[in-house]
């Protein structure tokens, strides 16, 4: 791997403390590194400096200010060697006081009912840096309040301090229309662009960024005082990005999800789907009591009765029809530990390999090649030179990744969108290739065809490119394919050349695209394109799928598959897959955290099985057909781990008191397994993780402690490098 150019360090003194930071750092960041608070409003570490709020004043010694001796803004001033900064001189104190005094002139006395009260930067900075009393005793300015800026967010203009964070987030980070500044001077206010509603999927971030209570979320308005909240670090269960969150709970309900910035994953952002997706956890309709079908009706029973029923019925069916009559469908929403136990219970307790979950189409694991792992890293996308999306729409499916791609674009990357439908990010794309649905795989082959045909391969041994090999791409020329694909040959040629010459190309497709008929080989084709152009392990490059759910990759890694066990250990006798099981391939089905009815033309077929047991939080379509329904806990009520799309394993913590009556899936599994005669002694998911760490190669050595707050990532590129070095 090539080395990033080392940034020279600069040493400066702040309040007598010496601190070294990379060249180009602003004084505010340097002060932060030295442990000195410099108050800020407009500055946000993820956005370029603005210099608007005049709160971060410091005094810098060797500088000759433009007029008289004036304070400098720490957020816009870059450090220089030998700089001497003071943050506590009379001038600094006076300037900060002045700013706060002005900000407070018109600020309403809403604190007692303001959502932000208690965690408001205006309150806090006034306490630490402000004047104790106002010298103005005026009637304050009033506005109609609040006014909605979107379906989910309200704006209170009286509280706004015009720091522009929200406006700049929508314009510069999300790069979408939405919030703008209206009017001028003291009349300046935040508003919605008249021509473009604020309907961004990232809108919740502005509520979190607003330093005061000017922007509030409908979901949290007047719900709680911040000091009543119990805050627990966790991971968003919304999609495969795995953004880090803080779950804020009051008594027995989730009040809100806040970001827990992790620069490797989310850069401090969340999407609305994740941020406000906790309703299912708070839902009063959640299942609290096990149900067993008696006389055709689901009837409330005790846990013992329910678990006994499951074990007895499964054993009966196994004895009558053999193990092959039993199958299990695992989950992309439950933890690694639970998926591991699930396949273990089925394999060891019931002797069946009929195990699967809902997922895309991927080739079987073969030597070294695992085309289902994104070979790059999320953070690496920042500096990619090219991003190619093939049948992927992160904006709606893996939203925070969309912000990464936009960051790459701001860093100069080119974006190509290859898709059958229009996607929102297209207006920022360098090139849009419109195709017929289901031709994504053929596109990838065609791109590879151009690379081979024009002899553009990189990092490939010449002897690999045998005549036979090259002949495979004969029919895949853009000109020949253009019509079938419904696209433009020249664009494909140009794209192939770019990818082949890219400093680092990131090529992504959605897991769901592999399920379209015609795309069965998409994963392998994209992987091959990556290999031919050396974009698999190259820095700032990578190829791979974007998964749908928070633990899609984890379920796979844990061996919830018919043909391989945990860690992709091949099985002598593969079982039936998802579709085969649902088409009547089994007589008894055990479903954990999944709703296969969604994918069936005739969900009623489920009821025709001899026995169906479902572990779920709510009465889903599948659960309604079940013979036994076991109420499960949500991600927020248990511990465990998720594996995100770049194979980063992250821990869940218990943020919420478990719903009385429901049990965590791992507990349920333990209950059934014990009744099946398995001697399971797991006391908690940590014990399961220990077992995973010894039996699944990519999880080797993991412990909850080692995963800490930010998780650990198994890197494809690093692994490759090690293997190559050993060879």
């Amino acid at each position: 791997m090539s080395q990033e150019e080392a940034v020279p360090q600069v040493t400066l003194t702040i309040d007598g403390r010496e601190v070294s930071v990379p060249k180009g750092t602003v004084v505010w960041k340097a002060a932060q590194a030295a442990g000195i608070e410099v108050p800020i409003y407009c500055y946000h570490p993820k956005m370029p400096p603005l210099g608007a709020c005049r709160m971060c004043f410091v005094e810098i010694e060797p500088m000759t200010p433009p007029i008289a001796k004036a304070p400098q803004t720490a957020c816009t001033t870059e450090v220089r060697d030998g700089m001497v900064v003071h943050t506590d001189t009379p001038l600094v104190k006076k300037s900060r006081k002045g700013t706060l005094e002005f900000l407070l002139i018109n600020h309403p006395l809403d604190c007692p009912i303001c959502d932000k009260g208690g965690e408001c930067d205006l309150q806090d900075f006034t306490l630490r840096h402000g004047p104790g009393a106002s010298r103005f005793d005026l009637t304050k300015r009033h506005f109609q309040k609040p006014i909605p800026v979107s379906d989910n967010i309200l704006l209170d203009r009286e509280r706004c301090i015009a720091c522009q964070r929200c406006v700049r987030f929508t314009q510069e980070v999300a790069q979408e229309p939405g919030l703008i500044l209206l009017e001028r001077g003291f009349r300046t206010e935040v508003g919605v662009d008249p021509g473009a509603p604020f309907d961004s999927i990232f809108s919740g971030n502005v509520v979190e960024m607003c330093p005061v209570g000017a922007l509030t979320a409908k979901s949290y308005r007047f719900m709680s005082r911040p000091w009543e909240l119990k805050r627990t670090p966790s991971v968003c269960p919304g999609c495969s990005v795995g953004c880090n969150v803080r779950v804020d709970v009051r008594v027995d309900r989730i009040m809100r999800l806040m970001s827990r910035p992790n620069d490797d994953i989310d850069d401090g952002w969340l999407c609305d789907k994740g941020r406000w997706g906790y309703e299912s956890v708070n839902d009063p309709q959640r299942l609290r009591v096990p149900l067993v079908r008696k006389n055709g009706e689901l009837t409330e029973v005790t846990w013992d009765e329910a678990l006994d029923t499951v074990a007895t019925r499964l054993r009966e069916i196994m004895q009558k029809h053999g193990s092959a009559a039993i199958g299990g469908i695992g989950s992309t929403h439950t933890t690694n530990e639970e998926n591991f136990l699930f396949q273990k219970a089925l394999r060891e307790g019931l002797g069946t390999n009929n195990i699967d979950h809902y997922h895309g189409v991927f080739p079987a694991a073969s030597q070294g090649a695992m085309p289902w792992v994104f070979t790059g890293s999320i953070a690496g996308i920042d500096n990619a030179s090219d991003v190619v999306l093939i049948g992927a729409n992160p904006y709606t499916r893996q939203p925070v990744l969309d912000l990464r791609i936009k960051k790459a674009l701001r860093n100069g990357a080119r974006l190509t969108v290859i898709s059958a439908e229009t996607h929102r990010i297209e207006r920022l794309a360098t090139r849009v290739v419109r195709i017929k649905p289901g031709t994504e795989a053929a596109i990838a082959k065609t791109l590879a065809g151009v690379v081979v045909g024009e002899k553009l391969t990189r990092g490939v041994d010449a002897h690999m490119l045998t005549d036979d090999y090259q002949a495979r791409f004969k029919s895949f020329t853009p000109e020949r394919m253009a019509e079938a694909l419904g696209t433009d040959a020249e664009a494909l040629r140009a794209l192939a050349r770019e990818v082949a010459g890219a400093k680092g190309a990131v090529i992504l497709y959605d897991e769901a695209a592999t399920r379209l008929s015609g795309n069965e080989s998409l994963a392998a084709d994209v992987f091959e394109l990556g290999l031919l152009t050396d974009n698999v392990t190259r820095q700032h490059a990578g190829v791979g799928p974007l998964w749908e759910d928070a633990n899609s990759l984890g379920a796979r890694d844990m061996g919830v598959l018919p043909d391989v066990g945990p860690g992709y250990q091949p099985l002598a006798k593969p079982g039936r897959d998802y579709d085969a099981m649902l088409r009547g391939g089994v007589k008894a089905l055990w479903v954990m955290g999944a709703d296969p009815a969604r994918h069936m033309e005739r969900p009623a077929a489920l009821a025709e099985m001899d026995f169906l047991v479902v572990q779920e939080m709510a009465l889903t379509e599948t659960a309604k057909q079940a013979d036994v329904v076991l109420p499960a806990l949500s991600y927020a009520e248990k511990i465990g781990s998720f594996t995100n799309l770049e194979r980063r394993v992250q821990v869940l913590r218990r943020a919420l008191v478990p719903l009385p009556g429901a049990k965590a899936d791992w507990e349920i599994l333990r209950g059934v397994a014990t009744r099946l005669g398995l001697a399971w002694s797991y006391r908690s998911p940590s014990d399961v993780l220990t077992e995973i760490a010894t039996s699944v190669p990519y999880y080797a050595g993991l412990t909850r402690e080692a995963l800490g707050d930010t998780g650990a990532r198994w890197s494809f590129a690093d692994e490759r490098a090690t293997v190559t070095a050993q060879a």
Binding site: R54, F57, P66, A68, P71, S95, L138, E183, F186
Partner: protein, 429 residues
Amino acid sequence: MPDANGRAIGPSTASLADYQNARGFAALQTLRGQGAQAAANVISAAQQARLRGRGGAGMLTANKWQTVRDAVAKRGGPAFLVCNAYDADPQSLISTTLVASQPFMVLEGVMLAAIAVGAREAYIYLRSGNTAGHTALNAALDQARSANILSDLIINVVGVEVGFMGGEESTMLEVIKGRRAMAQQRPPYPAQSGLSELPTAVANVETLVSLVGAVRDPAAFAKTGTAASAGTKLFSVYDAAGNGTLVEQPFGATIAAIVKAAGLTITADSARGILVGGPEGGVLPPAQWNTPFDFEPLQAAGAIVGSGTIQVLGPQTCMVDWARERTAYLTHESCGKCIPCRSGTKRIEGMLAGIMSDVGTSGDLDLLNEFADYVPDGSLCGFGWNATNPLKTAMRYYADDFQKHLRGECPTGTCVPVRTHRFAKKGVL
């Protein structure tokens, strides 16, 4: 630059031939023959001529452009040039007149500056309401283009109306980029990162017109003016009734002389003061009328070169009310980005309104004094740095006006209260 008849700017030159007959574009042709040396030659001519920027802080033009050249040398690529012919001060007659009557000289100035900084593309930025200017400039551009005088320099004419802030350097660049008219924090200075994040030189149209003279004959140019600032300066001089005249005088001429040159005769009886520098300028009392018009002496007196507007304030001017009215104008023109300027101007206006309405207190004066410095010190751009000049000079030279109002009496008997007892009870405004 006064012509043989002593008229400012000279007769308008609407045809290329006329301009060329009067040595027009000669300097440019000579430079074009000098190849790579040309840039350095323009800069050294500006240096020798002691040419200072007419529109801002009065930086030496040669130094300013050298910075741009250094930035270009460091990062490679082209530079941009922006010619500010916007007349931010609505009272200013300078840019409007220059562009309308001397479009070729404006073009020559732009081309010389483009050579100096290595710009391939230039913007001439004026008010969209300046129809005469647009017409003259576009006609001149057409002629120059057909005569192949522009060479490969791209000149864009941009018209905008964004109020007083439109004349502020960084705001101007934002507006040209198509963004909201708001000032930007510097550094990075435009010289390092301006349009398209490339080095950008921003020059006032008056500076560029002066540059033509400076390049033609630096020594002659340097003969007029002061040791610090060579050459002449244009002024929009207004009498107390609001009639304006454009005059041209060398740097260093006294305020009294400039007013006289505009044909006005004033005495301490017929005028209470003279505003020097436009909306953000300072008011100077009779004792200061002999101040030479140059950057440093004006600064010492509390005024600025500013927009070059000089206005006689009649004997009936109450300086409290005058400062209030000036501040009210600025309150509405502030872009609102930074709080000291956004709220400071508004607050000063409010307190002045209180004093002027005879409901002020002596505590108000302390606050005003405090804000007079806090606003400039805390503000982000030149607008805020100068926004309290009217207040400061009014308080400095007409302290008695304020005292009288605190006692409930208007010094000139002209003020009509705008605040009532409702506010008086609260004590402070």
